[in-house]
Symmetry: C2
Subunit: 287 residues, 2 copies
C-alpha cells in the first residue's frame, strides 16, 4: 500500500513557514506585495484570483487585484503592466490566464518585468531553466518539488518520467527534475508506447489532462507517482492516474483532490516572497 502524499498538510506547512518568514521581513521594513491582473469576468478565474488575494493577506503580505474589462485593448493591458513594473512597492506581478482571444498572451507575458515574474513564464526566466536557475519555477512545478523534498524522495540519478509537455506544467517540471540530476524521460501525446516508459519510472509525473490514462500496469512497483491531472468525471474530481488500483502498487502517490492542487497557490506565495527578497535584499549578482 502506497504512502499517500498529503498535499493539504504539506501546503499548510509551507504556509506556516511563510507566515514566519514574512513577519521577519516586515520587521526589516519589507512587506512583500503581489499584484494580480484579471481580465474579464470568467467565474473560475475570478475565484482563483480571490483565493490568491485572500491567502496573500492572510500571510501578512499586501495584495492588489487590477480588474480590467473583457474587451480591454492589448495596449491598455500592456500599459497597466508597465505601471506595475515601474512601481517599486510591487514585488510580484501575475497576469491571470487565460486571456481573451484578441490579446496576444505571449506578448503580455513577455511584458512583465522578469524580476517580478512570479509565475516564471517570462521568456528570460524560461531561458534560465536551461541552467537550472530560474528566479522562480512555475507554481505547480515548484509545488511538485516541494512535495518530493518534504517527503524525502531522492532525485539525483533517479529515473523521472514526465507525461505531458505543456509550457505551464509538464515541460518546466521535466527541466526542474533535470536540474536536480534525475535522468529525465519526456513523454507526450506523440509518444508511441507510453507504458514502456512509465514502467521505468522511479518518479512518475503525470500531467496529461486525461482521466484514467495511467493504470496499475503502467506503474513500476514502489514508484513515486505525482498526479497533476484534474478531470471531472460523473461529477467527481479525478486525476490522470487510476488512484484506486495504483495505490496498491506504488511506493507513494498524490491523491486528487488534495495532492498537487493545494500546493499551487501556496507556491505562488513562496515565489512572491522569494522575488521580494531578491529584489530588495540582495545585489543584482544573485539574480
Amino acid at each position: 500500500m502506497a504512502r499517500i502524499l498529503d498535499g493539504k498538510a504539506i501546503a499548510a506547512a509551507v504556509k506556516q513557514d511563510l507566515a514566519m518568514e514574512i513577519a521577519q521581513l516586515r520587521e526589516c521594513g519589507v512587506q512583500p506585495k503581489l499584484v494580480v491582473v484579471l481580465v474579464g469576468d470568467d467565474a473560475a478565474s475570478a475565484s482563483y484570483v480571490r483565493s490568491k488575494e485572500r491567502l496573500a493577506r492572510e500571510l501578512g503580505m499586501e495584495a492588489e487585484v487590477i480588474r480590467l474589462a473583457a474587451d480591454v485593448s492589448e495596449v491598455e493591458l500592456l500599459r497597466q503592466i508597465e505601471l506595475q513594473n515601474a512601481d517599486d512597492a510591487v514585488d510580484a506581478l501575475l497576469v491571470q490566464l487565460p486571456l481573451p482571444d484578441h490579446i496576444d498572451t505571449d506578448r503580455v507575458l513577455a511584458a512583465v518585468d522578469p524580476n517580478k515574474d512570479v509565475d516564471g513564464f517570462h521568456p528570460q526566466n524560461i531561458g534560465r531553466y536551461a541552467m537550472g536557475s530560474p528566479l522562480v519555477w512555475p507554481c505547480t512545478t515548484a509545488g511538485i518539488l516541494e512535495i518530493l523534498v518534504r517527503s524525502s524522495v531522492p532525485l539525483a540519478g533517479q529515473t523521472a518520467v514526465v507525461v505531458g509537455r505543456s509550457r505551464i506544467v509538464g515541460w518546466p517540471t521535466a527541466q526542474l527534475l533535470l536540474a536536480h540530476n534525475a535522468t529525465v524521460v519526456q513523454c507526450h501525446s506523440r509518444t508511441k508506447d507510453l507504458t514502456e516508459f512509465t514502467r521505468q519510472a522511479d518518479i512518475l509525473v503525470v500531467a496529461a489532462g486525461q482521466a484514467g490514462l495511467i493504470g496499475v500496469d503502467d506503474v513500476r512497483e514502489g514508484a513515486v507517482v505525482i498526479d497533476v491531472g484534474i478531470n471531472r468525471v460523473d461529477g467527481r474530481l479525478v486525476g490522470d492516474v487510476d488512484f484506486d488500483s495504483v495505490v496498491a502498487k506504488a511506493g507513494a502517490i498524490t491523491p486528487v483532490p488534495g495532492g498537487v492542487g493545494p500546493l499551487t497557490v501556496a507556491m505562488l506565495m513562496k515565489n512572491t516572497v522569494r522575488l521580494a527578497r531578491l529584489r530588495r535584499l540582495t545585489k543584482g549578482d544573485e539574480r
Copy 2:
C-alpha cells in the same frame, strides 16, 4: 553494416543552397553581414574565427572580425557589442567562446541583441526552445537536425536518447528533438545505468566528450547514432562512440571526424541568413 552519414557531403550541399539563397538576397539589395568578436589570442579560437570569416565571404556575405586584447575590460566588450547591436547593417553577432576569466560570459551573451543572436545562446532565445521556436537553434544542434532531415530519418514518435546536457550541445539538442515530437530521454553524468537507456534509442545523440563511452553493447540494432564527441587519443581524433564496432550494428552513424563537425560552421552561415531574412524582410510578428 550502418549507412555512414557523411557530414562533409551534407555540409557541401548546405553551402551550395546558401550560396544561391544569398545571391537572391543580394539581388533584393540585402547582403547578410556576420560580425565575430574575438577576445584574446588563443590559437584555436583564432583559427575557428578565420574559418568562419572565410566561409562567410566565400558564400557572398559580409564578414567582420573585431579583435580585442585578452585584458579588455568587460565594460569595453559590452560597449563593442552595443555598437554592433545598433548597426543596422549587422545581421548576426557572435562572441567567440571561451572568454577570459575576468569576464562574465552570461552577461556578455545576454547583451547581444536577441534578433542578432546567431549562436542561439541569448536567454530569450533559450526561452523559446520551450515553444520549439527559437529564432535559430545553436549551430551544432541545428547541424544535427540538418543531418537527420537530409538523411530522411523520421523523428516524430521515435525514442531519442541524448547523452550529455551541456548548454551548447546536449540540452538544446534534446529540446530540438522534443520540438520535432520525439520522445526524449535526457541522460548525463549522474545517470545510473546509461546502457539501459541508450539501448532503447531509435536515435542516439552522444555529446559527452568521453572517448569510447558508447560501445556496441550500448546500441540497439538499427539505431541512428550521432556522435558529437571530439577527443584526441594517441594523436588521432575520435568521437564518444566506438565507431569500428558500432558501425556493424547501427542502422546509420556519423563518423568522427567528418560527421557533425563540418556542419557547425555551415549552420552558422545558415543561421546568419535566417536572421538577415527575419530582420530585414519580414514583419515583427514572425520573429
